[in-house]
Symmetry: C2
Subunit: 329 residues, 2 copies
């Protein structure tokens, strides 16, 4: 057992989180991760209505009695996303843990505070972490350059960004930090704890589990891929995303780097390329863009969530109980 302020604050058995994952974070995976002792999050914006979210929350509860949370990724969108309705459902159904990302969650904090909901805010820089902490979020989840999805535009790696963020936050209060990006095993967990984190967040690692409802081909691709098999797209739009490397992603990068084209041309060309979907459900891993982090290089199996969490904790505890004392001998 490894206890930290995160395990204490949220009543979970381990300091491992499975953050919100678009297209992936449905009830079966969330319940399996929660049941294994991780702090797992349902991703709200995958459900177009508050009722659908409420039903998914009920589904998780039918599968586990362990705590879990809701991810609220606040994005600009053409189709208005019913954030206020999501928030109402969260508060009314007695959810006590929310992970926010994208824009800062200032509009939602008063209601969450009033209902005893703790807020973990995801950031990609030390300065935004400080801003969010000043607004009153309870925990910062800091995302390094190696992460899947949106690493921001600063390109600072977790090895530096994590302790820099811990230091910046220490100057204004007492906010626990969760390390995100590149986390895959017990070594990552212990490294993050040494750098000042109180927990870790894993995304790509939970994709390659038995209970994750994506096509087997995607899980096998993650196992086969190395740490070099990711790419950054949308860099020129200043909305950088780290995705699995394949011919489609390479084509998108090529189009986006072509400075002879206008932004509108690029948007149109990329929209055409990205039209080829069907990766997660259809298993055509070379047929479209899909999200993965550099942690792919450390993922070599497709365990159940229970096996995964047990393996991570065993490795971390062996480091703490055997490796660390041997360094001091």
């Amino acid at each position: 057992m490894i206890k930290t302020r995160i395990t204490e604050m949220f009543g979970v058995e381990t300091p491992i989180c499975m953050g919100g994952m678009t297209g992936v974070g449905y009830a079966p995976l969330v319940a399996a991760a929660a049941d294994a002792g991780a702090l797992a999050f349902l991703t709200a914006h995958m459900f177009t209505t508050a009722e659908a979210l409420e039903q998914e929350i009920a589904k998780v509860r039918s599968l586990t009695d362990k705590p879990f949370g809701i991810n609220l990724t606040i994005l600009p969108s053409f189709n208005p996303i019913p954030y206020d309705e999501y928030r109402r459902v969260i508060c009314e159904t007695g959810i006590k843990i929310v992970e926010t990302a994208g824009r800062n969650p200032v509009d939602h904090l008063p209601d969450f505070k009033a209902n005893g909901v703790k807020v973990i805010h995801k950031c990609t820089s030390a300065r935004h972490s400080v801003s969010a902490a000043k607004l009153g979020v309870d925990v910062i989840s800091i995302d390094g350059f190696e992460c899947a999805g949106h690493p921001g535009e600063d390109d600072v790696t977790l090895m530096v960004l994590l302790p820099a963020t811990v230091d910046a936050l220490a100057a204004i209060g007492d906010i626990p930090v969760i390390a995100s990006g590149g986390m895959a095993d017990g070594r990552s967990l212990m490294a993050a704890l040494m750098l000042g984190a109180e927990g870790v967040n894993m995304g790509t690692r939970f994709l390659a589990t038995q209970e994750c409802q994506i096509h087997e081909n995607v899980k096998k691709a993650i196992v086969a891929n190395t740490e070099r098999d990711t790419l950054l797209i949308n860099r020129t739009l200043r909305n950088t995303a780290r995705v699995a490397r394949n011919a489609v992603a390479e084509e998108v990068v090529r189009i986006q780097q072509d400075t002879t084209k206008t932004i509108e041309d690029v948007r149109e060309l990329v929209a055409g390329v990205r039209g080829r979907e069907n990766v997660l459900a259809g298993g055509d891993v070379d047929g479209g863009i899909w999200t993965a982090g550099q942690s792919q290089g450390l993922i070599h199996d497709i365990p159940t969530c229970k096996e995964l969490v047990r393996n991570i904790m065993k490795q971390a505890e062996d480091l703490a109980r055997i490796r660390v004392p041997s360094l001091l001998a």
Copy 2:
């Protein structure tokens, strides 16, 4: 005291290395770092003749009786660099530790082996680490994307690259690994040890020490800079280098990203820009290109080497003795 295979193998007091640094790694700094308990390296190619290198080795020995090594960075160069002569001096003067970088050191290994010289080879990828290990180097120093100088073209961060390299090497033998890039304090050291390293390498951190013979303005700039204050230049030449962010570096990036220009035009324009030197000696930190890593964000003081090494080890030992047991409580 923290003991690892690196401290045992090289007879040094701490697992901290100060790798070769062009324009910086002269006798006074190397002797001060060695005297403080670090494994420090004189940079051979700063000396145009073998005789000058031999004199600098003698100078270090007049200042300390602790072990130190020679950095042999094997670069393509218009002016032939006397590597064979350097090697002769290393062997004849009884130096027992060499850090190689750039091309792999295969041509030099037979002589080094015959003279009992251990070779630490710097790599920026797991696959090149495996190749070097198969050639017979004794230790791999693995450089993450966050490092100062040349991170390679893969952009894999140390958090993933280090354990991936440790795993790749474990499959072929028993080669200790040194972690390089983003290392600045006792937290970095403990994190690296948890990820499977046996030591850490610090460059930027040793620039901001009392004994480093660069202009005070550069040291102050490192302290003032944050983790965001670096840039990658020479990306389009596939010879990427991480340098301190300033107007000159930004101009170089702008020129290099201009796809309407030929490679020759770019080389000429950049040569013009980079002509503004006098940073390290003259202190004009905005007047030219100079090397720094993301670890700048963790550097807040300009201690002596002895204070620096003592502070790092104190922080690491406190983590090992206090923080780790508290996690298990």
